[in-house]
């Protein structure tokens, strides 16, 4: 269960700053959600932690070791293009094992075992296009879990699923996460998803991305979002997120018009720093 530390990280794309002075500590074995408007660099941050990109400044450590490239114990899961269309479900799950030097037959045997554990063994010979969206994400999760990752990085993993499937997959993730005891970092633009799943929510502001609020959510599972304290956190984060979205989406004059039209929460950006840690929830 690795602890992830993001230390004063900046990431530029050309002259555009995507992430600015991100300083975060993600506790071992926790489930952290990165929430923010489109373009706030949450995917970039995830890929930096995964070692698929490198910070322009600052450093990232996992278990105290600097991240210099993809780590054996860290797996990334996306919303789409997760599974390889040209491999059967079995070979998709065996993919990572083969990369680790296992023979084809041994990799397949373990892949089927993993599929049995998640109730997908009957679909081993299917190709991804023959599966439903939820099943595809379950296979993607199985493909990650078969490698026994200690760090699971998920980028909007349920973003393309319909509402019901999404809810079921969220519960599914909670159970598998508890069993695996991996450290999970989940990127989402859905605040409710973050509130349902996460131990800690990191709200990022838009361009350049920077944590503006870090909220611990110690509520037990399953959670009821209408529940008193959770609801307070939700309302406040909603207002904050809406403001961030508006700020990243609109220019000054439009913002004034929006404010007049009743979006009270929208005020000029005053640069809230990451110190606004909320412990009340």
């Amino acid at each position: 269960m690795p602890e992830v530390r993001v230390i004063d990280v900046c990431r530029d794309f050309g002259r555009q700053r995507a992430l600015d002075e991100v300083d975060l500590t993600i506790e071992a074995g926790s489930l952290t959600a990165l929430v923010g408007p489109t373009g706030c660099g949450k995917t970039t941050l995830l890929e930096l932690i995964a070692g698929l990109q490198h910070p322009t400044r600052g450093r990232i450590t996992v278990d105290g070791e600097d991240v210099v490239g993809p780590r054996r114990d860290a797996i990334l899961i996306f919303q789409q293009h997760n599974l390889f269309d040209w491999l059967t479900v079995r070979d998709n799950v065996a993919f990572g094992l083969r990369n680790r030097g296992l023979s084809r037959s041994e990799a397949r045997r373990r892949a089927v075992e993993q599929l049995e554990r998640v109730g997908l063994a009957a679909f081993a010979d299917r190709v991804p296009a023959e599966l439903s969206g939820g099943m595809r994400q379950r296979v993607a999760l199985a493909r990650a879990l078969v490698l026994v990752p200690r760090l699971l990085l998920m980028d909007e993993p349920f973003g393309s699923l319909d509402h019901q499937t999404r809810r079921i997959m969220q519960r599914y993730l909670l159970t598998t996460w508890r069993q695996s005891r991996a450290t999970v970092i989940l990127v989402t633009h859905d605040l409710d998803e973050a509130l349902r799943l996460a131990d800690r929510i990191v709200l990022l502001s838009a361009s350049p991305g920077r944590p503006v609020e870090v909220v611990d959510v110690p509520a037990p599972h399953p959670r009821n979002l209408e529940d008193g304290q959770l609801r307070q956190v939700r309302d406040r984060l909603h207002a904050h997120l809406e403001e961030e979205v508006a700020l990243s989406e609109f220019a000054g004059a439009e913002l004034a018009a929006l404010a007049e039209a009743g979006f009270k929460s929208i005020t000029p950006h005053v640069g809230v720093d990451g110190g606004l840690k909320d412990e009340s929830a």
């Binding site: 797996i75 040209w86 190709v127 991804p128 296009a129 023959e130 599966l131 439903s132 159970t175």
Partner: protein, 289 residues
């Protein structure tokens, strides 16, 4: 617990049933039936038109005339040194197109992959291919004849030039179009180097490449015929021109129909190869249906 009962809600798409298989067979039969029926209809109209004098049979000889003509002359036409055999022309053209197409596709795939893998080579290579690709294959004929004479070499060269550059560009485009998430997923799962290319990037690009190959065949087929009509004095294209020069319209018609049928046949062959090699596509399409 309740979770497991919830998960059981998902039922995957039903396994391919025998009803589905028979529906597929029916649709195959229908397309073959349509092909035969369409040509019977056109042939009958052609015959009737010629018999009734609506069509000038001297210019548009119907199948009942050019097929017996081919058999009666045992496919040998022309006079003296110009005498050519139908069967020999057909074989010549097929060999030329196969060689030029194979070399062109192979080169395009190889160079395209190399250019995709090496960014600095791409800076030089892509502009060169971009200038070579729009040159009409026929435009290479004068150079081809000077280089290789009027034989097979020139024809293969023309086909090659008509295919290689555009196939290079198509390969670069297909490889460049592989979703970044595939590559990131693969790297995150420990794949790198040649393994990443072989197991992820190339299969992901394969459908785009396959489409480009099929389109390239039409370019190749037109190139070889145009070349044979414009200077390379042998093969099917040359046979059609010879028929026109000697006003043997039966020969011209026989040549045209042969060109159409062969081109169609090759295209079907490529389609069958695609469905065999990219087997997952058909299964995905079936699941969509």
């Amino acid at each position: 617990m309740s979770l497991t009962s919830n998960i059981r809600i998902w039922r995957g798409p039903a396994p391919p049933s025998s009803a589905g298989a028979s529906r597929r067979r029916r649709s195959d039969l229908r397309s073959v039936g349509g092909l035969v029926a369409a040509w019977l209809l056109l042939g009958t109209a052609w015959e009737l038109g010629a018999r009734l004098g609506v069509l000038n049979a001297a210019i548009l000889p119907p199948p009942s005339q050019f097929i017996p003509y081919l058999i009666a002359t045992s496919g040998s036409v022309g006079l003296g040194v110009n005498k050519v055999s139908y069967a020999q022309s057909l074989v010549e053209t097929v060999i030329r197109v196969a060689a030029g197409f194979g070399l062109g596709i192979g080169t395009g795939l190889g160079v395209g992959t190399l250019l995709s893998a090496l960014p600095w080579a791409r800076v030089i290579g892509v502009p060169i291919a971009q200038i070579l690709a729009p040159i009409a294959p026929i435009a290479w004929i004068p150079l081809a004849i000077v280089l290789f004479g009027t034989g097979d070499g020139a024809a293969v060269f023309v086909v090659f030039m008509g295919v290689a550059a555009s196939m290079t560009l198509a390969t670069v485009a297909a490889l460049g179009g592989v979703p970044a998430e595939y590559i990131k997923s693969a790297r995150s799962l420990g794949s790198s180097g040649w393994r990443l290319w072989l197991r992820v990037i190339l299969p992901a690009a394969a459908p785009g490449v396959a489409t480009a190959i099929r389109l390239s065949f039409f370019a190749a087929w037109m190139s070889v015929l145009a070349g044979e009509m414009a200077g390379i004095n042998s093969g099917l294209g040359s046979l059609v021109i010879l028929g026109q020069q000697e006003f043997q319209m039966k020969l011209v018609m026989a040549g045209l129909v042969t060109i159409g049928i062969l081109g169609f046949g090759f295209d079907r062959l490529l389609l069958v190869l695609r469905t065999r090699l990219l087997w997952w596509e058909a299964r995905g399409a079936r699941a969509e249906a």
